[in-house]
Amino acid sequence: MVSEPTQLVDPGERSAQALALAQDIVTRALASGATEAEALVTSEDAALTRFANSEIHQNVAETSIGVNLRFCLGRRIAVAATGRTDDAGLRALVERAAAAARSVEELEDWGGLPAPTGGHPNGPSAAGYAAATAEASPEFRADGVRAVIAAADAAGVLAYGAFSTAREGIAVSNSAGIHAAHERTTSQLLTVQMSPDGGTGYAEAAATDATTIDAAAIGREAADKARASEHPISLPAGEYSVVLEEYAVVDIADMLGYLGFSALAVQEGRSFAEPGRRVGSDLITIVDDGSDPAGLPMTIDFEGVAKERVVLVERGACRDVVYDSQTAARAGRTSTGHGLPAPNPWGPFPLNMVVDAGATPREALIGSLDRGLLVTRFHYTNPVHPKLAIVTGMTRDGTFLVEGGRIVGPVRNLRYTQSYLDALAGVTAVGRERRTLKGFLGSAVVPALRIDAWTFTGTTEH
């Protein structure tokens, strides 16, 4: 039996071991009668230190591995998964997958497992891997947390948040010739800070190299905002111009990726995306790029296909959407490398979105606002009308009234019900600086935006 990849230190060696395990599973499946087979091996060493009331209250670590086998008997497909990688576990895995494949009906438009694409070499990749993150200790994370807490202490507020570090590996082998692996590291430090007078503030950073995160600066940013948002006034619901900080913009990118930039959403008629359709102002360009070093790179998808750079929106107009092998087969084209683990009824998703930076410094975004709101971030967003990308959610952790280009004071949080497409169409300036953030779909690199009209539909008590 091959070794488990999580026990190794070198990312190349770990990828090679994961690929050997995947290849072993494919060989077993073919020997059991599979006409095609695909094995996905995911592994992770992840740790997270969580703090609240300016103390660490939760501190966890995990070592995990998962194996996913897609077993094909002609057009009859079944998937089995396990966390057991000993011989008995793998034998049981193949038996379960084979038995299920014999029980299911044929998938009429099955396009076959993906094959390697030209120009994208097979083999392991470690883009976005930082040894310092992979080896980050509990003491390293505690140091970062103490720096955040020190900033909170200095401002007289309490700190809440989490500092996570992870090594993540995926390896895919299939009978059509895919033999690809990727190792990466990710880290994220986020904090909410609360003042005794009701103010709250937020700051976050994500990076492949945890040592590049300036914990003290993150702490100061949130603490300053918590102090600045004390004693908010109530504003009535209605339409306001807004400046959305990057923490809010990431939700727009993710929600549009979830609702519309997927080939399956297009094929099922539930997407807003059509080539050439104008969905944003000329200032908006959005791509998905798993190789952009500004983000958290992921160079292959969960089918082992190399990720292509896909232009989703170019100067306000829809250009393309992302594909996996099944949606690509239906469309008569090749996968763009955006598949999820099989079976996947949800379709492909863009997990590495990048929004082009603009030319406007942060101060000028606010400075050009005659009257409107500066929004730090959104909370609990959910689509109300998916095809029009109408979303409801709340503001949170720092919402401010701006008049005459100056922040005049904090306001209580507001509920909005707003088409994100209409919002993109109303973008009048794009921030020069961008942040790398984790969203609910993956990672994103986004600037702040100024939008001429945003519909707030309710108020709350804080």
């Binding site: 740790a47 660490i56 995990e62 057991r84 997958a97 509990p138 109300v384 409801t392 709340m394 309710g458």
Partner: protein, 482 residues
């Protein structure tokens, strides 16, 4: 199993842990996914591992692994102790646990028809029959049908001598019909968006009669395309159980989690408006008709078990009694801070996650007087809302906005025409205070969700909700131009 838990606990104790517990969890899962009468996916999964939680110098540490052997038990226990010592470097108040007797025993979910023994052909056939019935309705654009089953076998052991073994089985299924025309996308789901889930076996799936209900929901999805937009304004709404349980979940379940109140979820899901001073003062949460409990003993609920993941026995805890806020969902760490003992609310999402306070079965108890049908008959003018479509609530659980898949107009005590895209919004306690009717026991059903999110790293929990439908007055529906 006992050899491994003993080894992990002994190692943790020898390295300085004042308290340690170890959970070994094996999870089996099966899923079937069908789209427009095409079998899209059949999958089975197996996950096994253990987690060790330790208390050292008054601070928590936790580590976990999928490798079940003595060497790994030593490594993981040692790592948990090291992590706890790092936690202690940023600690202001030492953790103190409430006293409880050692937990010993076994619990098994009652199952009449083992879902893992029912043939795959039968399960696929049942689901396909339902999906075909829905997709065959003229005007339906596509359908999605799903089946899922999960069995979790877990062993819990602690340094205080606790040792429990539990086998918990949940199943769920749904059929969803989608109709699309231009920019309008309407969906009707049966029995619930995301699936009708419960604790038990395949008998629950048979009871749903998916095939018998699929076509009706397909027809409603198509009818919604040409239905008028739901109007805006103040009106009376009757929430059926399928929407009411979501309302209970978001506006009572989450805000009564005591860890949220103490701020430990502040950086993620937020805090709660139900601060401890409100419990002391007897805050009026709802009308006299509103009594809500967290009941881990309720039959068929997905939050039903023998012991929680701290070894506290299953029990029922009052949260709201006759409209007055009286209690929280608690843990061994949080309960002593309000002068109580744990209500047994701690659960973890598998072996690699630490237990958090999670809803068990948060139930709005029925009120004798009127069935749900009789509440509708008793309503002159209003809306009947069913099947959740979207949900959102602020970070203190006050301002909420829900959308449902469909609204039926109520006129003169009868259900009438359909409205599309209904939404309603409010402030939690104002909404519950406006409740003037709760369905009786004849309308009471146990529902729930298999995907309640909480925590960092994220955890998903299966939680139950017993509800019977209720009526609310002067509710804001619609949101202006949408």
């Amino acid at each position: 199993m006992r050899d491994l838990t003993d080894r992990a606990l002994d190692t943790a104790a020898s390295l300085g842990a004042a308290y340690a517990d170890c959970r070994i969890v094996r999870r089996l899962e099966e899923s079937i996914s069908i789209k427009s009468a095409r079998l899209e996916g059949v999958a089975s999964g197996e996950s096994e591992g253990f987690g060790v939680r330790v208390l050292v110098d008054g601070a928590w540490g936790f580590a976990s692994s999928h490798r079940l052997d003595f060497d790994e038990a030593d490594r993981v226990a040692g790592l948990a102790v090291r992590i706890a010592r790092a936690s202690a470097s940023a600690l202001r108040d030492r953790v103190a646990l409430d006293a409880r007797p050692p937990a010993v025993g076994q619990y098994v979910t009652p199952v009449a028809e083992d879902p893992f023994e029912v043939s795959l052909e039968t399960k696929i056939g049942d689901l396909l029959a339902a999906d075909r019935a829905a997709v065959g309705v003229p005007g339906v654009s596509f359908t999605e049908s799903s089946y899922g089953a999960q069995r979790e076998s877990k062993t819990f052991a602690a340094t205080d001598g606790s040792f429990t073994e539990q086998v918990i089985t949940h199943v769920g299924a749904a059929v969803e019909a989608n109709a699309i025309e231009g920019d309008e996308h309407q969906r009707r789901s049966y029995p619930d968006a995301g699936g009708g889930w419960g604790a038990g076996g395949y008998e629950l799936i048979r009871r749903l009669d998916l095939a018998g209900n699929a076509a009706r929901h397909g027809e409603e999805a198509v009818a919604l395309l040409s239905a008028p937009q739901c109007p805006s304004g103040l009106t009376t709404v009757v929430l059926d159980p399928g929407q009411l349980y979501n309302q209970v979940h978001e506006s009572c379940g989450h805000p009564t989690e005591l860890d949220r109140v103490f701020g430990t979820e502040a950086s993620y899901a937020g805090t709660s408006f139900l601060t401890t001073d409100k419990m002391a003062e007897g805050f009026r949460y709802g009308s006299d008709l509103v009594t809500i409990v967290a009941d881990a003993t309720a039959a068929g609920g997905m939050g039903t078990f023998g012991w929680d993941d701290e070894g506290v026995a299953a029990q029922s805890v009052d949260l709201v009694r006759d409209g007055i806020f009286v209690g929280y969902q608690t843990s061994r760490e949080t309960a002593p801070r309000i002068g109580r003992s744990s209500g047994g609310g701690m659960r973890a999402d598998g072996w690699n996650r630490i237990p958090l306070i999670r809803m068990t079965n948060i139930n709005l108890l029925p009120v004798a007087g009127m069935s749900l049908d009789e509440i509708v008959a008793d309503t002159d003018d209003g809306l009947y809302l069913t099947t959740n479509r979207s949900w959102s609530i602020d970070d203190r659980r006050l301002n909420f906005q829900f959308a449902t898949e469909i609204a039926y107009e109520i006129k003169g005590g009868k259900l009438g025409r359909l409205f599309k895209n209904p939404t309603y919004t409010g402030i939690t306690y104002e909404f519950w205070r406006s409740c003037d009717a709760v369905g009786d026991a004849s309308s009471y059903v146990m529902l729930g969700t298999p995907n309640c999110g909480k925590g960092e790293p994220s955890q998903s929990a299966h939680v139950g909700h017993g509800v019977s439908g209720a009526r609310f007055r002067n509710v804001q529906i619609g949101v202006g131009k949408w």
